[in-house]
């Protein structure tokens, strides 16, 4: 594992908050998994191994820019208005987790569909002559779907202010990338639509910042970019999955060596005199914040039945109102 002295643009002062966000996401992830095991969450998809990439995205996007996530973007989301409790609520199975102050799009589960939404957002940004850009993330598996090609084709054709970031963690559930495509250099997917492309080690914060800075600059001048970021997925696909069924012990161990949090910590220790006691204090502080959110969640996480009918339409149609009152009648009897 190599430690990197930081580039000038990323000195310690800027770096420490990034490390904090990475840790916060990882610690939240551990708590989420426990909550799920205790039956309080439906399913949960973690981001461990991919935090450097996602935190770099969160760091570089401006507030007015639009982030179009899929479901593995927790670290970025924590930097863009989501509080841990929002994410806990989402994974516990409540739309309440999707209400945040930013104008970002919500978590997107149907694979690759978000790529098209993002291209539409970017078109609108250009149309309205904003200075904003759109950044959309997708998994390696998502590159197999037409939605992805359709989106990069449109974005390139109309020269949109957009960055597509492929978080290539090597796996789509149990399917490795080389069973997904014959061309595992995913930047090649950009060739056919004439789009700029970059590759990055998504576990290396320094590289992520440099590459994303570049890409975002291009996007701001209406040059769309595709980034192929290599990461590792240190967790199961979701809490419903068991990676031991398809990953060898050796691979699981190799992947651990790529842990971006450990890498960044090494840099902090070697070049910036970060000490174990600092780390310990930081972890403690984050855990205490998480305790509070989890307590609040446990006290108030049950939705009432009738809210299920709300927000289907701007104004609830009579037919739905009638079903809503039937349900109320049933549950009060």
């Amino acid at each position: 594992m190599k430690a990197n002295k930081l580039t000038e643009q990323l000195q310690f002062k800027a770096l420490l908050p990034l490390y904090q966000y990475m840790l916060k996401s990882r610690l939240l992830e551990n708590r989420m998994v426990t909550l799920q095991r205790h039956g309080l969450l439906a399913t949960y998809a973690g981001a461990s191994g991919q935090e450097a990439l996602y935190v770099a995205i969160g760091y570089l996007l401006k507030k007015e820019d639009v982030h179009v996530p899929y479901y593995r973007d927790q670290p970025t989301m924590l930097m863009r208005g989501y509080k841990p409790i929002d994410l806990i609520r989402y994974w516990s199975g409540s739309e309440a987790g999707n209400t945040i102050p930013y104008k970002d799009l919500p978590i997107c589960v149907p694979i690759a569909t978000q790529c098209l939404h993002a291209a539409g957002v970017a078109y609108a940004q250009k149309f309205k002559q904003t200075e904003q850009i759109t950044l959309v993330t997708l998994g390696d598996g998502a590159t197999s779907k037409g939605d992805f090609y359709e989106a990069i084709n449109f974005a390139s054709l109309y020269e949109l202010p957009i960055v597509f970031v492929i978080n290539d963690n090597g796996w789509a559930i149990s399917t490795p990338l080389d069973k997904q495509t014959k061309e595992c250099d995913l930047t090649k997917k950009a060739y056919s639509v004439g789009m700029k492309h970059l590759t990055v080690d998504g576990t290396d914060m320094n590289e992520c910042i440099a590459t994303l800075t570049n890409a975002i600059e291009f996007a701001r001048s209406n040059q769309p970019v595709l980034i192929h970021a290599k990461t590792v997925r240190l967790c199961d696909h979701t809490t419903a999955d068991d990676a031991k069924r398809y990953k060898s012990k050796i691979l699981i161990n190799d992947e651990k060596q790529q842990d971006p949090i450990k890498k960044l910590k090494k840099t902090l220790v070697e070049f910036y005199n970060w000490q174990e006691k600092d780390d310990f204090a930081l972890i403690n502080k984050i855990q205490k914040e998480l305790d509070k959110d989890i307590d609040t969640f446990k006290k108030d996480h049950v939705q009432t039945p009738e809210t299920m009918f709300e927000h289907c339409y701007e104004n609830m149609p009579e037919s739905l109102k009638q079903q809503q009152s039937e349900l109320n009648h049933d549950t009060t009897n």
């Binding site: 199975g93 409540s94 694979i111 779907k145 037409g146 939705q303 739905l320």
Partner: protein
Amino acid sequence: MTQQIDLATGINLGLDYILSTNPNSLLMGEDIGVNGGVFRVTDGLQQKYGQTRVLDTPLAENMLAGIGLGMATRGIYPIIEFQFMGFIYPALEQIISHITKLRKRTEGRLSCPMLMRTPYGCGIYAPEHHSESTESIFASIPGLRVITPSTPTRAFELLVAAHKVNDPILYLEPTIMYRSLKQDFIAHQCPTKIDQCIVEQTGNDLTLIAWGAYMNEARKVTDNLREKNIHVELIDLVSLRPIDYPTIISSVKKTGRCAIIQEAPKTLSIANEIASNLYESLWSKLHQPILTVCGYDCGVPYPQQEQYYRQDVNSIQTKVLSWLN
């Protein structure tokens, strides 16, 4: 020799049977090989039949359906797994415009015998889009057959029977039943027709129709009502398209009362379809209006509210009793 099996095992045995008896059949889908499917329904089949007959495909549902058609026209029998019902929608163009129309468009020169399988239904506390009950959409597609089993044995028999029908078939697997119900299993006890209802219980007081996962609730309601001296004729619909009206009509003619329960939202649904047909054909024979107990028109909600969306035995029974009174 008997063996205790659950629904997922029934399906696994059915797939195994088809693969072993038809050398031109193959399975394809996401994560179905090495991983054995996210519900382990295809567990062990890739080891047994190899990677050319059990394919872990790229992640693309439209692709699965489209190449399925191509294969089918050349005598391959593709069995496609869509990982969840909520992820079939990209394939709708292939299903609606091609797969189900090929026979008609070529006046029978080409056809598209294939089986598409998918878990469906709510109640397993899964994330959004993983608990869809949108069978009404599929049951409205001309040229498609839609079937769903409600016991492990039926799961096996329906699959084997479906494989002998040369039409495209959507086989819906009630997710909540995969591991919940166990049954003694003897292969090939009774060959099943895929387009016939099964009258599980005979009774004279009312006809109760359900399918898939709700058969669990329907069976319990039937048992409970018997204790109250109400005799239910219980029908497992099995085939959601086409619907076996002769069986249903002769039952309702006898009982004069019909209740239908379904998880899918009410508007433009199978329950409404059956009700409307019964009104047309049996108007004067009905002792009272037909009861439908359906999902709400907001669709299956996020998991926290599934418990309110899905009707339990109690709530169904209360509705049936107050309707009878």
